[in-house]
Homo-oligomer: 406 residues x 4
């Protein structure tokens, strides 16, 4: 006996490769398919539609095929309500819970499609029948009794189309990560995207690593903060300490960033900075007391730009403002991520991954690092809106600031 279901694909399914992938995986998994309807979008803007009748020799095989089709955006044409099971205990999900992708997702409840709020990958989906509403919950956030979606029935995923040539400000980069790209021209495009995002009232989140300061780009980033191009900052204890060291002693890890000199005792400035800021009562207090008079943290404090400093096991100190609990820090980062319309990731793998984990696939991301492996890893998360540049953050940020502001 053959088991059969009908699924539908919609959007730019041809040139994005979605249709090809779907056809291929049915065959790979030992199923068969019949194209019941196929309507090709002839123009760039036109979407295509394809209805497939999928069959498999047994129920289990069919389920496997439908799971994969589902992940690729093929949804059942005769939907049912999502299955809900209560979480048996805090932090424990029902067996077979639905684990999210980072694409826009809907779940069907009481005959209606609910958008899943705050979509991000590798979460459970909780449905609150009052409302009704659906939202993501990390494993850690699941509470006993939460109604958690299990299985894939009644779940609809809509992977964003990969834009074609010239498809908006982020259509400019395709195919791999390489340092052999025209750097200045790329920076101009990033500047345009930044300006456009602000013009549209969007929020820009900057994720910054210590290299921003060491490479002498701190002043340029501070200027972008001052001029209103940064709406939130996500960094670690180390970034803040280096920035504050530069403000207090003029050095970063003991080297004067402008004269390139190593003042004697300079290597102690790092630990002295932490000690002085603790003594002052924290970063804000240090700014108010006049201990810190410029730099990125200074501009955040005086410009009321919210920042999250996440702690890590390699921190010295840490500073009083640093959030040392990883789960608490992740929750703070999650807030930043969900509010952002564009994210600039500057020379930090750890913090960029943490932010990236919380982003829906629809958020614009620019990722800059001198190490191609870092850029590749960050772009490799299924976002259609991510561009990467393998370049020196020490020349990138100043050139970006000049292009945006001058």
């Amino acid at each position: 006996m053959t088991h059969t279901k009908t699924v539908e694909l919609e959007g730019h399914i041809i040139d994005s490769g979605t249709m090809g992938r779907c056809f291929g995986l049915v065959m790979d998994l030992g199923g068969e398919f019949e194209v019941e309807a196929f309507d090709v979008g002839r123009h760039k803007e036109e979407e295509s539609y394809c209805r497939l009748r999928v069959s498999a020799p047994n129920e289990e095989r069919l389920r496997s095929i439908l799971h994969e089709l589902h992940q690729n955006g093929a949804n059942l044409s005769d939907p049912v309500d999502a299955t809900l099971d209560p979480a048996p205990a805090d932090r424990v999900v029902p067996t077979g819970f639905y684990s999210t992708t980072n694409h826009p997702t809907q779940v069907r409840h009481a005959g209606e499609w609910l958008d899943v709020e705050r979509i991000e990958m590798d979460c459970a989906v909780v449905v609150d029948p009052d409302g009704p509403r659906a939202y993501t919950a990390t494993l850690n956030a699941v509470r006993a009794g939460d109604l958690v979606v299990t299985g894939e029935a009644g779940v609809r995923v809509d992977p964003p189309d990969r834009p074609r040539d010239g498809g908006g400000p982020f259509g400019f980069m395709q195919g791999g990560v390489s340092s052999e790209r025209p750097s200045r021209s790329l920076i101009e495009r990033v500047a345009e995207a930044l300006v456009e995002t602000k013009a549209e009232g969007g929020r820009i989140l900057v994720v910054a690593g210590p290299a921003v300061i060491h490479s002498g780009a701190g002043e340029a980033l501070a200027r972008l903060v001052r001029e209103g191009y940064v709406d939130a900052l996500s960094a670690g204890n180390g970034f803040a300490v280096h920035d504050l060291e530069r403000a207090i002693y003029g050095t970063s890890l003991g080297m004067n960033i402008e004269t390139l000199e190593h003042p004697r005792k300079g290597h102690k400035h790092h630990i002295y900075t932490i000690s002085e800021v603790i003594r002052a009562g924290g970063i804000e207090a240090a700014v108010e007391a006049g201990l810190v008079e410029d730099g990125v943290m200074y501009e955040c404090v005086v410009g009321d730009v919210p920042y999250v400093l996440a702690g890590s096991i390699r921190d010295d100190g840490p500073l009083p403002e640093t959030i040392t609990d990883a789960v608490e820090a992740q929750n703070a980062i999650r807030e930043q991520a969900h509010e952002a319309d564009m994210v600039l990731m500057l020379s930090t793998l750890l913090h960029s991954v943490a932010v990236g984990n919380c982003l829906p696939s629809t958020t614009k991301v620019v990722c800059v690092d001198i190490d191609p492996a870092t850029v590749t890893q960050l772009l490799d998360r299924g976002s259609s809106q991510a561009v990467g540049m393998v370049t020196d953050v020490g020349t990138f940020v100043p050139t970006l600031a000049e292009t945006v502001l001058d």
Copy 2:
């Protein structure tokens, strides 16, 4: 007035993404298409067929579209003979000459399809009406009067299908280059491919860089040569000198590879080695005279394994056997490449690119380097038969030799 042509696509055009790409580019280039026939291969082994009627608002646009379709394997359904123009002078091709891909290619001459011999990328195609036969010629090899194919009419390209999961010994690696792959399991697969190639009577070409010797893998490679698993060696002057230094002095760039000691004066061994081998009259003479008693070059000489040592501007010496002229060396490499059924590229970007440039897309290639950027660059040449490993050649070659031979 609308201009129209019909093209055909055949093979695993769906899951390889070919069909999607073709549909997409027609739209991108401002054309339209109609699917005249579409026959889906339902099983892994079954091929699909698609006939498209492509139209564009003017002749030039249509030509542009057909050029791109052609590069992607869509061929005109009503073919004509290829256009032939004589080369006006030595090394000068007719304007608009057809520049090859590395995929299997045919040209139509006098109503018949001729396979293009010795296909490799970026060459001209010369047709010899006597025979008749068609073959590639580098710009440098074109002679006045050669009949050179111009335009794309009458040329048929057949890009190899990208194999699905489990598609033969080389189906095991997909998706990107990473050091985070199971190294030992991958080496076992490479060993299997090596054994299988030999069992089928195939020829194995090893391309080796100096790091093979520095990292202590010379002995294991010598063993593979001795046991008949290497049919040809492609390397540079530097590789040979390091190998010979190890044979004569036990060091590589002055370090003893086994005891890890740096004998005093060890840094002079490199230049002394060259001097001694020149004095002996060359590598073969040095082997015969008993100056060199083991190592990769030794095994090549006593086992009659042909080698090409290509010179470069950073060479010391060079050794008498080194081919110092780049064009002459390239021609020697070209012979090796066209005779090979499987190529093992070991820690050399320069020589691997040189060999890779001459390979058709159907040759099996294994590329090993500790630098992911090198592996990415080497794999990024449109070969469906290439696998890359980011690993240490100093542990790779010994483990490979043990897996193949023990």
Copy 3:
């Protein structure tokens, strides 16, 4: 008026470059010196002695010079007691507190030299007059009223000599970080050091990143744990999850490490693993329940090998055993570090830096990574006992295990 002090240098101060550095920095800082006594050690084992009379035009300049000499191991010949000031509040050190190096250090108290316990870099030194004893305290651990050393008077630093050629098992590697070293010979030396450390009753700490599992080296590491060559494990939540995923599902990030296949739904194994282990009540509970039957974590549990799993902001989950607070995790790592006689750092920058921060310069360290930048950064911490290898952890660990155990 000229200000003057006499300092002494002892040890292998000539060939370690210490004497040259000290002479140079006096001149650089505008001082003068006279060699009052100079006794050269003529043999490898003999130490040298040099007494310098240092003068400077003013007191401040002299202090600056003495600070630098001090950092390089030149100690005042007429010592005084260390200056002690009480910490004004929790986490706040007195101004001008002495910040430690990672070298063996003594402070003079009541006319006697006390060894500073648990020496590590960038800490304050607290003296407990009862006892009396001196010990390091991170900024975070300083409590109001602690007697903290300020200034450099009464502090003696003894940087370890850099061993000459052949100086013990760790004398084998000098000069820079490179992948072009004889890999197999180096692994043999590491194996010897491991065996020797165990034979002497030493403790071995392994710091491991997720790449150990992805690259297929998990089984070999598990074997080293089982056979008693690992006394403690320091890792992150990610390492443990990947290891447990392999034990439960046979995959790592969804790829079967042996067959290299990607089972359908494999990408969900990661998040399912976390969920299942939480459901079981943690790693130990999962082992007891039979959910986990092999792997590194399994061997640690059944072999009573203590492990620290430090949380980070990119974690999924985390697992119940993961320490999410960075300060708490750092303290746990600090314990591991101070108990270790030899540390094996395997493919993790974050955790290796965290461990390295807590190590005295006298602990043996082997650091293995495929990225030369990581190895360079880890070795660049003033340890004379650290060796680095740029190689593939996926071949390194199995070869090491075979060399040690077979």
Copy 4:
């Protein structure tokens, strides 16, 4: 019986570590030494002097020690004439020939010290008694009958002092290679060195790789050529082709460097460029014919800036001006290297090594690459005048040009 010799050390032998190294190696090699005279230079500018009496248990051991001391700049205090032996045949040196370092060197002949002309490493030294003069010869350039120096007697090496803090324009960078340096400040220093070199009438040699063009820096480099800041260019066939492609088609490897678009058929521009330039009769002819109207090669042609294009086995074409023979190309590069006062190496390992091999240790070198391994390898050649930057050449060259010219 003890064998004894007296050697002398002069210069900044203390803070450069030379003295320490010399003391150490005598002991390492089983010798003893007595310091007969030791005169310390107390000020930055003052040189030190040390006379050592070295003894060893036998003649061979003593020779070994003296060899090492010699390499480190310790010269015999009672010199003899250098030993000269005639080369037995073309390209064959006498046994035991003296192989050069890249430091300033003198040989003693007929009681007089002759400066060795055109010093570079790994060469033989030929003495021409007429004159008299001494000069280096590569193995390849030795002719039968040449009087070649053998052994080390009568040879004096003078390694340059490593400058202290603030020692001229090139004193700014010390200690390792890292991308975490203040990029803009470093570029300013390089600009100052460039301007200063020109002001002193020095010659600047630029060594450039294809990435200069791909990364969009071609225009800025062309401007530096036009404004007289480049006296010679050393590159490969690939660099020239990419530059000419940009001039003719506006693309580099098919991508428009300003609009970032990939014109259809763009991938053919590379091979078409070569074909068109060959058709025109070469680069100069193409400029004269108006085919090429801007770019680096254009500026070189119209500004009479000499260039060397060295061929390699991965070249397409090659262009008519490309020197395909490696030995011939090396000789042309050698001329460039010896005439240069400052060398700017931009994103090419192959050509930079080739140039670096021919440079004396006294030539100023700036080496720029995005890959730290490349920068490390290039700096690791015993030059005291080399600085490296790990940065993006696509932002480096434009910023440098703006700093120098605007």
